[in-house]
Symmetry: C2
């Protein structure tokens, strides 16, 4: 009997260092898949179609919404992001663990539609630290940074319903925590008993 | 506000490699305490009073049972082992995470008396592997080994009610899993929200 793949949902306000942490996870767990979202946002320099996102037009996105192909979708700063039901179902049925890198609006939809998801929220050490990181990243103008910080303040309230919270103060420690959560969840009794076969006990 | 220390309970049939795994944890987490049990079993070569166990007489043990000082105690192969209530309460109130290395009889008592314990069961990869390890350890006679294997078969059934199960097939992997469970439990939402102060969100 094949175990159903685990579903890890990782959310974080913009500028929390989530991308760096997830890259670390990707390197450490070659057997974990990352869901690639669809988005109407234009690619940033260096981002590649089919690797970072599937970049599609607002019209295409709207059609997909109407067809009901999304497990979750959300609008952030005027751009839409979504994960298809098929991509999740496929990984799970193949027994592959899947990570969804989505915001709390999307995470909430996943929580309603799928059982057994592991919800992980990454917090910045403080809002001030977040502001500094956004400045250092150099992608956004001053007003956009203020907007993102205000949005982060709201978004952080959502951490309350996640299973785990990682405070990304020191990145090595946060990476270790994210890795540990993934490993520990695989050691949960129900999963191990299924894997080794109940009859063994 | 100080967070209450976490309580990790680790059980395993004899010969599963638990001691090696726990030594690894001890080295990795200098901030985690190990509870030192009282026992009526005579010290094995190399074991030291107050480090491995508190070695006491059956009469002393019986007096402690009657005084109600034990949080848990159990009899295994004619020897008694117990953990005092005081040792657990002291660590918890000081915010120190504590590991109890006890068998499933004792673990059951802890589950009944304390909230929020994290129960971890270590399984041998197979009963045959367990037998080989016991032989290699060279402590027990043939009959004692047969007895321990039969006991392990019973004891393994108890894994069903633990929170986590680690199969100690490759020791490095099992050590990583034990470490990960400890770290992940510290990242649980309720604990992090308490640590950073609810008001922050």
């Amino acid at each position: 009997m094949r175990n159903e793949g685990l579903l890890y949902i990782v959310s974080a306000p913009s500028g929390t260092g989530k991308t760096t942490l997830l890259r670390g996870v990707m390197d450490y767990f070659p057997d974990v898949s990352f869901s690639i979202s669809y988005t109407t946002r234009p690619p940033r320099p260096g981002e590649r179609e089919g690797e970072d996102y599937h970049f599609i037009s607002p019209q295409q996105f709207q059609q997909m919404v109407e067809k009901g192909v999304f497990a979750e979708w959300a609008e952030v700063l005027g751009n839409r992001y979504g994960t298809t039901l098929d991509s999740i179902r496929e990984s799970r049925s193949q027994g592959v663990d899947l990570i969804l890198d989505i915001d709390s609006q999307g995470a909430r939809q996943i929580k309603e539609h799928f059982n057994g998801g592991v919800f992980i929220f990454i917090l910045p050490p403080s809002l001030e630290a977040l502001k500094q990181r956004l400045k250092a990243r150099g992608v956004d103008e001053r007003e956009m940074i203020q907007f993102r910080v205000a949005k982060a303040r709201d978004e952080m309230k959502q951490a309350r319903w996640y299973n785990y919270i990682i405070v990304n103060d020191r990145v090595e420690e946060a990476a270790e925590q994210l890795k540990s959560i993934i490993i520990a969840e695989r050691c949960r009794r129900e999963r191990v008993l299924k894997r080794i076969g109940l009859s063994k006990l």
